[in-house]
Point group: C2
Chain length 341, copies 2
């Protein structure tokens, strides 16, 4: 692992993206999203993704410039053709425009198609809650998850984020409807570690603890039949609103070549009820409740990540050596490219 | 168990409600909701609830007449004071009005406070999907669920329903964020059966398999930390929009005396994307996928209940003897009351 200051790794990402044709503000957004994932302890959504984003631009699978084309399907329904833009650039712009409408009409939705991977959803939910709005955010992905009782990957990891403003800051959840992430499977494979029972099936639909076999198979939904039901409902809902591809037809968030055809949905609501103090008091009651046997404390979702972020902003980020080596290479190529031009 | 025809038990409920001062149309809605739960195999939300609804009217905790007072907090945000009306009467009226707005603006939300128990959420989601709209429905409840890692009930069972129209009919999920319902705990207690490990804690926060101890304790969230996160987010979101009470301050859905202070949220979206055929084809792919070891088939959420409903419409409903005895008593009292007046 390499301990790198926030400034140094952010600058490397920013330079690499700008060298690939991304404008300064868009590069700042994409960098901030990846950085935030590293800071909160979600490296699967961090700088590991940078090289692929740049490769996708080079391959014509990502447009470094567009912010998407907006059309209103109703006063509160913003339909966005992402035009294969960068995930956070298209999504933040759509969310900002929909947020403005939500402040007027109470609720608005942005339904986004043809957009690249939008990364860690908590990044959006937190910013939207900071701005005083409730959010429900959904995005779909390649089929990696098997239905409850089924042997084959047919569902995306289909995460949901929910953000709610409180008087003591944003409350944010961000969770995949898979039991674990494909990143965790890859991590076990990399370390040669066995998977816990129940995490995954192999390519033949048989339970496996072999991480390499699981990579070619399917991850379990979280929470058995209920998590499967949620993941399936999110996949259908997102496609109903965005026209996104479904199941095994989804491409473009795990490779460098294919166009992205999943969908993103942002539902934004102006709560207007003045409940911020009551919500904070309730969260404090939960925080202070005696833990059950075997637990040290009762956690509020998102708070561990926020504490990690505060610490890492001070100390710097531990990056896996290959990730930091790649970032330095991309940065150095950007410097010599700009010197050459 | 008593096998009763749909007509006979619906008529009994209708007459009992009308005798309590409920108008014919409102009584029909409340009866249809309870009947639908019986038909789909969710007796905890069926006619078992009838006596308490009528007792609440008698005690002044439920208003048999009101449909709630509507005010628009924005063009797409309908705020509803339920005025302690009957759950489905207030909620269906709010959802109908919000649905009309969603057809114009693309999305609308109804945020309902001071409404009685709205019962099985699938009933609403199915009707809304039949009418061509996507729905996300949330409602809160008394604190029955412990936080992940916590020893005390601090969260409602906080269910979610999602409905999506497809070309082959509504897709509907309806699930509590608790691992099981309090009804299932009561059922085990009634039968003297031990609970499976992991379902519940006793009043001291210790794991228990004693159903009677669990009734005074807390149910586990489904899906460990993720299900807890969802249940907590739903509780906060509903209160942010409705001003509902939180956690242990919630009253009025499990007793006959207290006013109801939980909240209900209906988010309605006009999908407009013409994806109905694609959604149906995707569901068929999942239905046809080979089952995993130990499973006979891959189920689509909601379809078992729908098949059960079709069968019971033909054969009649099996009601627990005390439930049917109570219904007959309420019906007979309604008849003699009306003869006396």
């Amino acid at each position: 692992m390499a301990l790198v200051s926030v400034q140094e790794c952010a600058l490397a990402a920013q330079m690499a993206l700008e060298a690939a044709g991304v404008g300064a503000e868009a590069a700042r957004q994409q960098t901030d999203l990846l950085l935030d994932a590293e800071l909160r302890g979600v490296p699967s959504h961090g700088f590991l993704r940078l090289e692929r984003i740049i490769a996708r631009i080079g391959n014509g699978a990502a447009d470094p410039v567009t912010r998407g084309v907006h059309s209103w399907r109703g006063d509160s329904f913003l339909s966005v053709d992402g035009q294969q833009g960068l995930g956070p650039v298209v999504a933040r712009h759509a969310a900002d425009v929909a947020a403005e409408r939500a402040r007027q009409s109470g609720i608005a939705v942005a339904a986004i198609s043809h957009n690249n991977h939008i990364g860690m959803l908590a990044w959006y939910a937190e910013a939207i809650a900071e701005a005083g709005l409730v959010s429900i955010i959904l995005t779909t992905s390649e089929a990696l998850v098997h239905p409850f009782g089924g042997g084959k990957a047919l569902l995306g990891t289909n995460p949901i984020a929910i953000g709610v403003p409180t008087d003591t800051g944003p409350f944010v959840i961000d969770l995949a409807t898979s039991l674990v992430s494909m990143g965790e499977i890859h991590d076990h494979a990399h370390r040669g570690a066995a998977l816990p029972q129940g995490w995954a099936l192999d390519a033949d639909g048989q339970p496996t603890t072999d991480a390499d076999a699981a990579k070619r198979g399917a991850i379990a939904p979280f929470g058995a039949a209920k998590g499967y039901a949620l993941g399936l409902a999110f996949e259908l809902l997102v496609t109903a609103l965005t026209g996104a591809a479904l199941g095994r037809d989804v491409t473009g968030t795990l490779d460098a070549e294919h166009l992205s055809n999943k969908g993103d949905v942002f539902i934004l609501i102006d709560p207007q009820s003045g409940q911020g103090a009551a919500l904070s008091a309730y969260l404090e009651t939960i925080r202070q409740t005696p833990p059950a046997a075997g637990f040290e404390q009762v956690l509020i979702p998102g708070e561990r990540g926020r504490a990690r972020k505060a610490a890492r902003l001070a100390t710097g980020i531990e990056l896996a050596d290959p990730v930091w080596t790649t970032m330095q290479r991309l940065r150095d190529a950007a410097i010599s490219g700009s010197a050459a031009s």
